[in-house]
């Protein structure tokens, strides 16, 4: 089992965002095919750089195991003559399968008993099988965008230049012949484009470590994990030299890993004068154009940045000087935009929104701002005083003004941030500029919610308006289609309400937001409920608990979450599962037979009387606990009904002959149901376990 196999595909630069998916597919799809071929024991490693996809296998046998394949033949009735001898059909089938008729067996086919041949399929040389698997997997890799090149005959993510496919036992001794995208396999790859542009011979490579080392000598670090480590270490060391830290940007750091073959970091200096720009502008300018990280000292921007380059060194300082020059030029450009924008009062920018379309059928952003301001004012009126109403109104009217600014035209990712910066610069109250600055937070699951009440209200109002507006046009997300990111907007609403928390009910929000669009907008409330379910599960509640809680009542995420947490603490206790079973019977009975009429005086049998007594005793206390939102106690109190309910169902016949008595018994159950449904529909806990 000492067989090893190397596959390397060398091509032109693959987009960074396509690489993690390509590695995953390569690993999963090859593993599945190896399993099918009886080679499942092999160890698989997948690597990539911007220019190559690499697969390493070891622990392979020289050939795949022999298999026995069952081929189904004619039905038994057609295979045997009445005297038990084989028919011509059976003989023909056996011949076709390369066995004698005596070797046929009778098996159960999809349509009854048939004869079958057990064919021995001999193993195949492993390299041959690997060539087939790789050709199939690689040509079926899915990329976000593919292309053709040259004569246009082949389609892949980028033009393919070389294939290495090598096999051997103990070391890679033989080329495995294969062809992909018009390129035949060989034993050579090529090094880094500028550090080592020549060929690298891989025949004779003694193992994975040798391969990685040979490539490294050719200026290529094949393993993304290794590149991540090198980048992190280089950045930390360069930052420490100037007593700074790297300002965290995990998404960009991940992209850096994929962008290069050999990761290098250069530290560039920023002229101090540019640090007078808002820090977000500096960070975004350097990130947007150059994918640079910036440095911080004690939480403040420091006058340095890191550029990641695709080479280990900077022999003549060109890389640093070049990046510094570009950074300076970009920052000067941003400075130009920033000061140009500051020449225009925010209100005047906001007036330009009349010319920016929010949606062809729904008018401009100016119209949207008016609607959002009204909705935000209504919410503020419910949650606070007149000052709050004034703050959210002003913030909402100015919130989108930055869409008309040059800075946001240049850096769309700064929308909101610039609005806040400009509002502050124009002397708006802190509550107002902060509400503008944080209006796009959170982006669905990403990032924190706005830190201020005014910000939370404006954020909710803006998104509810977007949701109601697009739902009113029938733009409801379906399946993977959600071009306006409405799921994300709705989740943001739920998160703000739940995490801030805001005591607002989602169905009511839906109604209010719908008002400018001709009354209740279809499907919106249900959509919000679905997002609330997602939110509660995302917060770690088990899905049966979430369903149980929301089925009782939904729409106030913070309270629904508290209820869910109380239930989650209990629901897997045996006594509670018993209670859930009993409650399911209650629900079934009441929904089938009706709510009856509560008449405690009619209770006859001991079990019946015991339940009525418990119910009456618990009722008042439960109401007080519910009113006080004391959910853990309330759920525990419900638990006290488990035993009496069980006894009731064991000993009492609900659907008895006596109609009046039947109504009374149903009446008790209906009362129990109402009590439970103030907390949760425990029946939903069932069926999952």
């Amino acid at each position: 089992m000492s067989g090893m196999f190397l596959f390397e595909l060398l091509c032109e630069e693959i987009p960074a965002n396509a690489l993690p998916g390509a590695r995953r597919q390569l690993a999963e799809n090859v593993a599945a095919k190896l399993q099918e071929a009886g080679l499942g024991a092999a160890q698989t490693k997948v690597f990539s750089t911007a220019r190559r996809l690499v697969l390493w296998l070891e622990g392979l046998p020289p050939a795949t195991p022999e298999r026995v394949e069952e081929v189904l033949g004619p039905p038994v009735a057609a295979a045997f003559a009445p005297d038990g001898s084989f028919t011509r059909a059976a003989e023909g089938f056996a011949r076709a399968c390369g066995v004698t008729p005596e070797e046929l067996v009778v098996v159960e086919g999809p349509k009854g008993k048939v004869v079958a041949a057990r064919k021995r399929v001999p193993g195949k040389p492993t390299p041959e099988v690997l060539a087939r698997i790789l050709a199939e997997v690689v040509s079926n890799l899915h990329f976000p965008k593919t292309m053709r090149w040259g004569d246009g005959a082949h389609v892949f993510v980028r033009p393919v230049h070389a294939l290495v496919a090598l096999w051997g036992e103990g070391s890679l001794t033989q080329v495995v012949p294969m062809e992909l995208f018009g390129v035949a396999s060989g034993s050579r790859t090529w090094g880094h484009r500028v550090v080592h542009p020549g060929p690298v011979e891989l025949l004779g490579t003694a193992g994975l470590a040798t391969y990685l080392e040979r490539l490294r000598q050719a200026g290529v670090v094949v393993d993304p994990e290794e590149r991540r480590k090198l980048l992190g270490e280089a950045a930390a060391a360069l930052a420490a030299e100037v007593g700074c830290q790297v300002r965290s940007d995990p998404q960009l750091a991940e992209e850096h890993v994929e962008l290069v073959e050999f990761p290098g970091v250069v530290r560039g200096a920023i002229e101090e004068r540019w640090l007078a720009l808002p820090p977000e502008v500096v960070v975004t300018t350097l990130r947007h154009h150059q994918k640079c990280l910036v440095l911080e000292r004690e939480g403040q921007l420091a006058p340095y940045f890191f550029a990641v380059c695709d080479r280990p060194d900077d022999p003549e300082g060109h890389v640093r000087r070049g990046n510094e020059w570009v950074a300076g030029a970009r920052l000067a450009d941003a400075h130009f935009f920033y000061h140009k924008d500051l020449e225009t009062p925010l209100e005047e920018l906001a007036r330009k929104l009349e010319r920016i379309t929010f949606h062809a059928k729904l008018g401009s952003f100016a119209a949207k701002a008016e609607r959002v301001a009204k909705l935000a004012a209504a919410l503020a009126g419910k949650l606070g005083d007149e000052a709050l109403v004034a703050q959210v109104t002003e913030a909402a009217l100015l919130a989108k003004a930055d869409l008309a600014s040059s800075m946001v035209g240049e850096f769309p990712e700064l929308q909101g941030v610039m609005g806040g910066v400009y509002a502050k610069a124009w002397g708006k109250p802190e509550e107002v500029w902060r509400a503008i600055a944080f209006q796009y937070q959170p982006a669905g699951q990403e990032g924190p919610i706005p830190p201020t009440l005014a910000g939370a209200i404006v954020g909710v109002a803006d998104r509810m308006d977007t949701l109601a507006a697009l739902f009113s046009l029938g733009e409801v997300p379906t399946g993977s289609k959600d071009p306006f990111a409405l799921r994300r907007h709705a989740l943001s609403v739920v998160r703000i309400c739940g995490e801030f928390p805001l005591p607002l009910a989602l169905p009511e929000l839906a109604t209010w937001a719908s008002a400018p669009f001709g009354g209740q907008v279809q499907n919106l409330a249900e959509f919000l409920r679905e997002r609330e379910r997602f939110f509660l599960e995302w917060r770690g509640l088990p899905s049966p608990v979430v369903e149980a809680v929301l089925s009782a009542s939904w729409g106030v995420p913070a309270e629904d979450e508290a209820r869910g947490r109380a239930l989650a603490a209990l629901w897997q206790e045996p006594a509670y599962l018993q209670l859930a079973t009993a409650f399911k019977r209650v629900r079934n009975m009441v929904s089938k037979e009706g709510e009856g009429r509560f008449a405690p005086q009619l209770a006859q049998e001991p079990a019946e009387r015991a339940l009525v007594e418990r119910v009456v005793a618990v009722e008042g206390e439960l109401a007080a606990l519910v009113a006080g939102r004391r959910w853990p106690e309330a759920f525990r109190l419900l638990g006290e009904l488990a035993a009496p309910l069980d006894r009731f169902f064991t000993e009492v016949l609900v659907l008895c002959e006596d109609a009046e008595l039947r109504q009374a018994r149903l009446g008790i159950l209906a009362k129990v149901q109402r009590m439970f449904l103030q907390l949760a529909d425990l029946a939903k806990l069932q069926g999952v376990n």
Binding site: R158, R311, G322
Partner: protein, 303 residues
């Protein structure tokens, strides 16, 4: 290296590698791609290699000569290699040496940047090339033009000449760039940037622009409806529409909804022109297929 040396060196470099050295198109265009030497030549099976400078108009980017990095008219140096050769990236790196840039001591990265021109019904896949962090080139494998799938595929290399000159000269404003012969970019171009900006943003007559948009749409269609369709005049009409559209947009005279419609009208003419060109070449028996062996395009010059 001054701007005119950048131009001369690149023209010579590509000329020596089998590219026909062409001239800028004598009309307002938004990019070198709109030059018939690119837009038409990439269609059909005939091989072609060409290099030219194309002054490119982006009225909405004009900044009255005040912004150090932005121009309403900038210079592109455009290379078309059809079919895209296997060593196209290596050739490109060699071209940098013609500019005195030795890739061995710089950081050269090819970062994904795909290109699309809705008005031309064209798109491609490729990169922007970053030299020490500076975007200096757009590199595209054309996949479609005029709504037609391309085969063979052309590689388009577009050098941003002002950017490259600024970078080589370490200037912080375009206007400080040394053009050649002791002249700066300011001397040569500042006044027309100011005037073109004023015209685009303040003076242009929106009614006239709209009227001419319609006129050229009709004129282009008329050229194609002839029994022997006039391809180049039809393309020129589409180019005029495209430029008029850009001027209208700079004026802020186009709403988002209208925008889509106007783009579709330009594209319609461009697509019809592309089809007419292909038919014309086919009738002629794709003459460059036969001559490609002997023409300058056929030589695979390698360093």
């Amino acid at each position: 290296m001054d701007l005119q040396s950048v131009i001369l060196n690149l023209l010579r470099f590509w000329g020596e590698r089998g590219c026909l050295v062409q001239q800028p198109y004598d009309m307002e265009v938004g990019a070198g791609t709109m030059h018939p030497e690119t837009f038409l030549r990439v269609l059909g099976p005939e091989p072609y290699r060409v290099v030219y400078v194309q002054p490119s108009r982006r009225p909405a980017d004009a900044r009255f000569g005040e912004n150090p990095f932005r121009l309403g008219k900038h210079l592109q140096l455009q290379v078309i290699l059809k079919p895209s050769p296997r060593d196209v990236q290596a050739l490109y790196l060699q071209s940098l040496q013609a500019l005195g840039i030795d890739p061995a001591v710089h950081d050269v990265r090819f970062e994904e940047d795909n290109w699309e021109s809705p008005t031309l019904g064209a798109w491609g896949v490729g990169w922007q090339v970053l030299l020490d962090g500076m975007e200096i080139t757009q590199f595209t494998y054309f996949q479609q033009a005029g709504g037609l799938d391309l085969k063979p595929i052309s590689a388009e290399i577009t050098y941003g000449l002002e950017r490259i000159a600024m970078f080589l000269q370490r200037k912080t404003s375009i206007y400080e760039v040394d053009w050649g012969g002791g002249f700066s970019y300011w001397h040569v171009r500042h006044r027309d940037e100011v005037e073109l900006s004023r015209y685009a943003f303040e003076v242009a007559d929106v009614e006239l622009l709209r009227r001419h948009f319609e006129d050229w749409e009709r004129e282009g269609a008329r050229c194609l409806e002839l029994e022997d369709p006039l391809v180049v005049p039809a393309l020129e009409a589409a180019l005029k529409m495209s430029h008029l559209f850009n001027l209208l947009e700079a004026q802020g005279a186009i709403s988002t909804t209208e925008r889509v419609g106007l783009i579709a009208r330009v594209r319609k003419l461009a697509v019809r022109t592309a089809k007419a060109y292909l038919a014309q070449r086919e009738r002629a028996g794709f003459p460059l297929l036969a001559t490609s062996q002997n023409s300058p395009q056929g030589k695979e010059a390698r360093a």
